[in-house]
């Protein structure tokens, strides 16, 4: 029997000791393991979601009315439902309920996502997030409610795989969106997080590698908890990352999944209307975000062999514009380091956690996660290329 499917308390405690990480990340991962031997995911009828919303708003906003509850597509990690909320003053607006399935391809903490979205409002366009049910008191499982934002993740008829990977943009859209894309990332990294209400986040010590080791622990713990098929290269990479961790010189907000597919734009004006998917956000080194966005799998090479970041903007232009906007120097050695770390994380997400969800039947997107595992082998191939480059200093 696969013992990871029925974790004992002793096993969970040993992992927590071996891989110390942020408090709320530890809480989310521990909660996942404690519920692992519980029942699989069963879709909730829309009527049940509607009832839960009505009960919640009877408490949170007496006199409000909920209508037009409907499941939304997309969203590999969380269940999503749209609904209309009529407030007591008569105004109506569409909202989105994001609820955790019993296990998710990325196990995260709703309070972190909620706090980060609220903190970033006014700095970059984000959906207004008025309510969180961090412990699942109202929605059975942890959930968050935000305002529905109009927009699309890709132009109608454009290419792209599930979840926006490899999304293709026309040259007109590249011209209109490429610059905005860089400027939004720059604004996230320039955000004054020290004055924000982000108590769910641990603050890494600047000029130290402690925060980097915490991130390595976070993901190696996930590999330990979730992997189904052993992969020596994943273990070796963890050792390499520990041995080569650079200090974080400037601590910034890391979005952690800043790419095409995770922002909405108005197809008529080509203006970005919202940056989405903040669930993996944390505080760290801006190179971590840059390297994430630069991943091969999110972009493509044009006829001249130039890499087009997220299908939007040529890599050299992306980096130059970022440096101009932030004043932060981009260190190619740190990009190389975090490219190794990020492809390692991507491989863990799709080849360990995604498959573990499916084994337990724990997610609303099991069939998508099985399909996404195919991306994992591309990640491993890319990881090997990054390791070689980082070791050779090229």
């Amino acid at each position: 029997m696969d013992s990871k499917q029925h974790p004992t308390r002793e096993w969970i405690d040993a992992l927590r000791l071996r891989y110390p990480t942020e408090r709320t990340i530890d809480q989310a991962l521990t909660r996942k393991l404690q519920a692992r031997s519980g029942p699989p995911y069963v879709p909730s009828p829309v009527s049940e979601i509607a009832t839960r919303l009505e009960r919640f708003f009877a408490h949170a906003m007496p006199g409000a009315r909920v209508s037009q509850v409907a499941p939304l597509g997309g969203g590999a990690s969380k269940e999503q439902f749209s609904f209309t909320l009529a407030q007591p003053d008569g105004t109506e607006a569409r909202h989105v309920l994001r609820r955790e399935p019993p296990e998710s391809v990325v196990e995260t903490h709703r309070l972190r996502e909620f706090q980060m979205m609220r903190a970033m409002a006014g700095t970059v366009p984000v959906p207004d997030a008025p309510w969180v049910d961090a412990e699942g008191q109202w929605f059975d499982r942890p959930a968050m409610i935000s305002r529905f934002v109009e927009g699309v993740t890709k132009a109608p008829g454009s290419g792209g795989n599930v979840t926006g990977l490899g999304t293709g943009f026309s040259s007109e859209l590249q011209d209109a969106l490429g610059g905005q894309f860089v400027d939004l990332l720059a604004r996230i990294h320039q955000f004054d997080w020290q004055s924000a209400d982000l108590y769910a986040f641990d603050r890494p010590e600047p000029n130290s590698t402690a925060g980097v080791h915490q991130v390595i622990n976070w993901w190696e713990r996930i590999w330990e908890e979730d992997s189904f098929e052993p992969m020596p290269i994943i273990r070796y990479t963890a050792q390499w990352l520990r041995a080569n961790a650079p200090p974080i010189e400037r601590v910034v907000v890391i979005h952690h999944d800043f790419r095409a597919g995770n922002f909405l734009f108005d197809p008529a004006t080509a203006q970005v209307t919202a940056v989405l998917d903040w669930e993996l956000a944390h505080l760290g080194d801006y190179h971590e975000d840059l390297a994430w966005t630069l991943q091969e799998g999110y972009g493509y090479r044009d006829a001249q062999g130039r890499f087009i970041v997220c299908g939007l903007i040529e890599q050299a232009e992306f980096l130059e514009r970022y440096e101009r906007a932030t004043g932060f120097p981009v260190d190619p050695r740190k990009i190389a380091y975090y490219s190794v770390m990020n492809t390692w994380k991507s491989a863990i997400i799709v080849l360990a956690t995604g498959i573990r969800c499916v084994i337990g039947g724990k997610s609303h997107q099991d069939i998508l996660l099985t399909w996404l595992a195919g991306f994992g082998h591309v990640c491993v191939d890319t990881l090997l290329q990054h390791l070689e480059r980082a070791e050779n200093g090229s």
Binding site: P71, G73, M231, R235, G297, D381, L387
Partner: protein, 169 residues
């Protein structure tokens, strides 16, 4: 045995594409997406179901050969993990997939053990083997999962038939 997997999978694919998917509520995008993914999975299963054991044995054989090149040096944990890997490689489980997984686990354990008490020279040699093996395995797995459509560099990948030495299609 009759009808075989090929016929059964084909009938599932047709039922899904021609009867079930058109009947799905257009207002339920999640159901539409998942039906599309089911169709794609069935297509991959049709292409791969009769090649799985050959593929798994090919992957397993590579790990057996890796094991044969390992000359462990270090403390007791490293030597014990290397002995475990060698014993498994000498008599792997019969089913290719099970054997591959068991050998991968034993090699992963050796990587961990070598980090704790492996001789430095041996660690370097082991890491080189792990990296070279990962390169070969990633190329195989990319070919196996190429139909998922995530790989932008498929031109250099062999077909599954070529990979497993079955060029009769």
């Amino acid at each position: 045995m009759n009808p075989g997997f090929e016929v059964r999978l084909s009938s599932m694919r047709r039922a899904l594409a021609t009867v079930i998917m058109p009947a799905i509520d257009p207002g339920n995008p999640l159901a539409q997406e998942q039906a599309g993914l089911m169709l794609a999975h069935i297509g991959m299963l049709e292409a791969q179901w009769d090649k799985l054991e050959d593929y798994a044995r090919l992957c397993m054989q590579d790990l057996v050969e890796v094991s044969g090149r390992i000359d462990a040096a270090g403390g007791p944990e490293t030597l014990a993990a290397a002995a475990g890997l060698a014993a498994l490689a000498g008599k792997p489980p019969v089913r290719g997939e099970v054997a591959y997984r068991a050998l991968s686990e034993a090699l992963e354990e050796l990587v961990r053990a070598a980090d704790r008490d492996g001789d430095a020279h041996f660690r370097r040699a082991l890491h080189r083997e792990v990296l070279l093996h990962a390169n070969r395995q990633a190329a195989r797995d990319r070919a196996w999962f190429a139909a998922c459509g995530f790989d932008v560099n498929t031109a250099d990948l062999p077909s599954i038939e070529k990979l497993i030495g079955r060029c009769d299609g």
